[in-house]
């Protein structure tokens, strides 16, 4: 199975890189960009087969290493 984990700064935490990205897009003529947030994507290839237990293990991985929950939130997608 595959797990795709999206990690980003929590709402309310200032994201200076996101702000620079939205300004740059505005400068390129994309005036419709009101805000940007930058995060990261982590893909894991996993040996488990039960989606529920895989998700609970991946959640543990996020809490222990992949996200710093002081500043970041995460979202997990499990694929076959």
């Amino acid at each position: 199975m595959k797990a795709i984990i999206y990690v980003g700064l929590k709402p309310g935490v200032l994201d200076p890189q996101g702000r620079a990205i939205s300004r740059s897009l505005n400068d390129l003529g994309f005036e419709e960009v009101a805000a940007a947030r930058q995060g990261k994507v982590i893909e894991l290839d996993l040996t488990g087969e039960d989606p529920e237990s895989v998700e609970s293990r991946v959640t543990e991985m996020c809490e222990k290493l992949l996200a710093n929950t002081v500043i970041e939130s995460y979202r997990i997608e499990i694929e076959d």
Partner: protein
């Protein structure tokens, strides 16, 4: 008095830390490699040096904070061992949960490298007693991710308990409430983004950092 410096792959202030410790204690510190699983016996004070441990992969300090030696360090720090982290060492301490909050990308997005004027905001901490009535010091800073963040509740607690030890006079990185250095509630663990270990020799621009090392060493 036995001191130690933990060195990770891509630490780059381990030697600066060693020179500072030897200058103050008269003895070279034990240099501990990240693959060790336990600190040597009888260590009284540990420094986590600056640098870019593990290439800043995932987040600054994230990998180092999960290394075997830091696991042992956390256990000992929770029992009272004196531990200081400077720059990347501060990031490791927050990632390891020994200090609250997190260090984020500088607000201005630029790497900041310059002498920085600081205010001592708790002169009774174990890391500042030797400064006496001096409140203004200058330490170098050199970082890209030094923007201290914690939620308001945590910040209020830090201030109320005197855990904010240093503040920036001219905030270089967007840190919440100008915080440059904090200690834990017990006072034995301390972290700051500026580099006191690079301010121990007049030929390098100043010696304001020496009293920080003297303070903690004398308190042991």
């Amino acid at each position: 008095m036995r001191t130690a410096v933990i060195t990770f792959p891509a630490s780059n202030c381990n030697r600066d830390a060693a020179v500072a410790l030897e200058k103050v204690t008269g003895e070279p510190p034990v240099m501990v490699w990240h693959r060790e699983s336990e600190l040597p016996q009888g260590i009284d004070f540990v420094v986590l040096p600056g640098g870019f441990s593990y290439g800043d992969y995932l987040r600054c300090g994230a990998m180092a904070s999960r290394s075997p030696i830091v696991k042992d360090l956390v256990e000992k720090a929770n029992k009272g061992l004196a531990v200081a982290g400077f720059c990347n060492g501060f990031q490791v301490l927050t990632e390891a949960g020994l200090l609250p909050g997190a260090l984020m990308r500088n607000k201005g997005l630029k790497f900041v490298c310059r002498p920085e004027n600081l205010k001592i905001t708790n002169s009774d901490s174990r890391y500042t007693t030797k400064y006496g009535s001096t409140t203004d010091v200058t330490f170098p800073v050199a970082h890209h991710d030094g923007n201290y963040y914690a939620d308001d509740e945590t910040l209020n607690k830090l201030e109320k308990r005197g855990q904010v030890v240093f503040r920036y006079a001219d905030n270089p990185n967007g840190s919440a409430r100008d915080i440059a250095g904090i200690c834990n509630e017990a006072g034995n663990v301390f972290g700051m983004m500026p580099h006191p270990e690079r301010a121990v020799d007049a030929m390098h621009g100043g010696t304001d950092g020496i009293n920080l090392f003297k303070s903690i060493i004398e308190s042991i």
